[in-house]
């Protein structure tokens, strides 16, 4: 599992690569929090184009990040989910917290 991030035009872009499950969750949580606490940005876009697998542990990680950013009034958006990730997001209602953007 790898995570890459960069800030461009006031947006923090986060790219998740690999498999997000119980084993990688603590690493993803830690790296996302590092990225979220550095630099100045008005919104966050999480790019899932290179995410190969995710289960409900990933939903817990994302909801945790949503709660932290909600306190700072910074919205989070999801882009490029696989059909599999999309199925989990729709089922769990995650898009109501983190809308999907194209």
């Amino acid at each position: 599992m790898k995570l890459k991030s960069r800030i461009y035009n006031g947006t923090l872009y986060v790219l998740l690569c690999g498999e997000l499950d119980e084993h990688s969750a603590s690493y993803v949580r830690e790296e996302m929090d590092k990225a979220f606490s550095s630099g100045i940005f008005k919104q966050i876009i999480i790019d899932l184009s290179e995410l190969e697998f995710m289960d409900s542990t990933g939903i817990g990680v994302l909801i945790g990040r949503y709660k932290k950013m909600k306190d700072r009034s910074i919205p989070i958006y999801i882009c490029n989910p696989s059909s599999h990730a999309e199925k989990i997001f729709k089922m769990t209602g995650l898009y109501e917290l983190m809308p999907k953007i194209v």
Binding site: E19, D21, E22, H23, R29, F53, D55, S56, T57, I59, G60, V61, I63, G64, S83, H84, K87, I88, M91, T92
Partner: protein
């Protein structure tokens, strides 16, 4: 030829083995000609069941997880068993968003995901202690090709 084939693997209830478990089950199911969506559903459900063992079954010492996969014509039947502390209230455990560890940022959607992705999910006691989760999924394309032939 396809019916009654089975396999069983046993491994330590550690998160590093989750990926192995889901890939192992998915590979075994390939002779039934599943679609990519079906394989993804199975991998996710297995991952949820194994995560449950890793996170909840053994709070004091790490025990074993046994995953068994059996073909029942075009149904895949997967059981994920542990000998841990078990679950007192099956009904409650299946409720969406219910978690015993809210402080760990858990979604509480594990069983809901299993139920959504598989055709049937049963929770059973595993002998004196522990839990057995039995997951069943009918592979549609395999069933269709069998009808056509």
């Amino acid at each position: 030829m396809k019916s009654n084939n089975y396999m069983e693997v046993k491994f330590k209830a550690e998160s590093v083995n989750e990926s192995f478990a889901r890939v192992c089950v998915a590979s075994f199911c390939l002779p039934l000609n599943p679609t990519i969506d079906e394989i993804n559903d199975i991998k996710t459900a297995v991952s949820e069941a194994v995560t449950n063992c890793v996170v909840h079954a053994y709070p004091k010492s790490v025990g074993d997880v046994v995953v068994r996969v059996e073909f029942d014509n075009n149904d895949v039947v997967i059981s994920v068993s542990d000998e841990g502390v078990g679950i007192k209230d099956f009904q409650r455990a299946r409720e969406p968003f219910y978690t015993t560890k809210p402080e760990e940022e858990r979604s509480g959607m594990g069983f809901a995901v299993m139920e959504s992705f598989m055709d049937d999910v049963q929770l059973q006691k595993n002998g004196e202690k522990g839990l057995k989760v039995v997951l069943r999924k009918t592979l549609r394309r395999g069933a269709l090709s069998k009808q056509l032939c």
